[in-house]
């Protein structure tokens, strides 16, 4: 067991633990804070995989923007400051839990025979992070120009749609 493996196991435990707390937490606000912990764990996993750019972008976009937006959403859809103490979970959750445990077992068993899955991921030496190559490919018509432009159209559509839905029609203000 190398130091890397120990670090990975700790990070994995924190990530999955945060995710489990999301599933069991009763207060909406705590759910979001646990979500932040899970997202942080995923960012560390990206760093372990040497995807530096995406590790930082994970913190920037997921924690800095998406989690904050969800928090705003939580605040906007509540009647009182006190979190609901009642269970936020369906009463026959255990059926779902059993089915999903079976699904997980199926996935784990199905990747066992695949030999390549057991390749150790070594540190990429002499490795220059391909941010620059990524940038070139994104604006190269032969490579990923279409996804690049389409994503901006998608963002425009998101802005227009979400503002149209969220802001009341009459008077344009809430």
């Amino acid at each position: 067991m190398t130091a890397m493996q120990i670090i990975f196991l700790i990070v994995a435990a924190v990530t999955l633990g945060g995710a489990l707390m999301i599933a069991t937490s009763r207060r909406m606000m705590h759910t979001v804070l646990w979500l932040v912990l899970t997202l942080m764990g995923v960012a560390v996993l990206f760093a372990l995989l040497q995807a530096n750019f995406f590790s930082v972008v994970q913190v920037l976009v997921y924690i800095g923007a998406i989690a904050i937006l969800i928090l705003f959403g939580v605040m906007l859809t509540r009647r009182s400051m006190v979190d609901a103490g009642e269970s936020l979970v369906h009463k026959n959750w255990w059926v779902v839990a059993v089915v999903i445990a079976l699904l997980f077992a199926a996935i784990v068993i199905s990747i066992q025979p695949w030999g390549a899955a057991h390749t150790p991921l070594v540190e990429l030496m002499e490795f220059k992070e391909p941010i620059s190559d990524l940038g070139e490919a994104l604006v190269d018509p032969a490579a990923y120009l279409i996804p690049f432009e389409v994503s901006s159209v998608l963002l425009l559509a998101v802005m227009v749609a979400a503002i149209y839905i969220a802001v009341d029609r009459k008077g344009g203000k809430s």
């Binding site: 995989l49 995807a51 859809t77 991921l121």
Partner: protein
């Protein structure tokens, strides 16, 4: 070092927990959070496979995985934004954010 399968199993676990959250939470925002977890699990897989592929082909710089990751980020952001807008709008009309009570189309 760390075998690829560890990352795959972790991603599978995260995906399963996300699915569990989606299926069991009553609050609509809770369901959105579950979807975020599932998308993150997918991202871990993509990054792990990207690393694996780069390791096997050190001469070239494969970018498919990175572009895929970036697209997942954008899709996750779009999904959260529009989903929350719908929830807020529904809350204003029905005064609830519990998914089971949004049954306007029920016959």
């Amino acid at each position: 070092m760390i075998p690829l399968s560890w990352y795959l199993i972790l991603a599978a676990g995260l995906f399963c927990i996300g699915l569990f959250v989606v299926l069991t939470k009553k609050s609509a925002i809770g369901i959105l959070i579950g979807i975020e977890l599932m998308l993150n699990a997918v991202n871990i897989n993509l990054a792990a496979f990207w690393h694996y592929y780069t390791q096997l082909n050190p001469s070239q710089t494969p970018l498919n995985g990175m572009v895929f990751l970036a697209i997942v980020f954008i899709v996750a952001a779009a999904e959260t934004a529009v989903g929350l807008a719908l929830i807020i709008s529904a809350y204003r009309r029905r005064n609830t954010s519990v998914a089971g009570e949004m049954d306007l189309l029920k016959g």
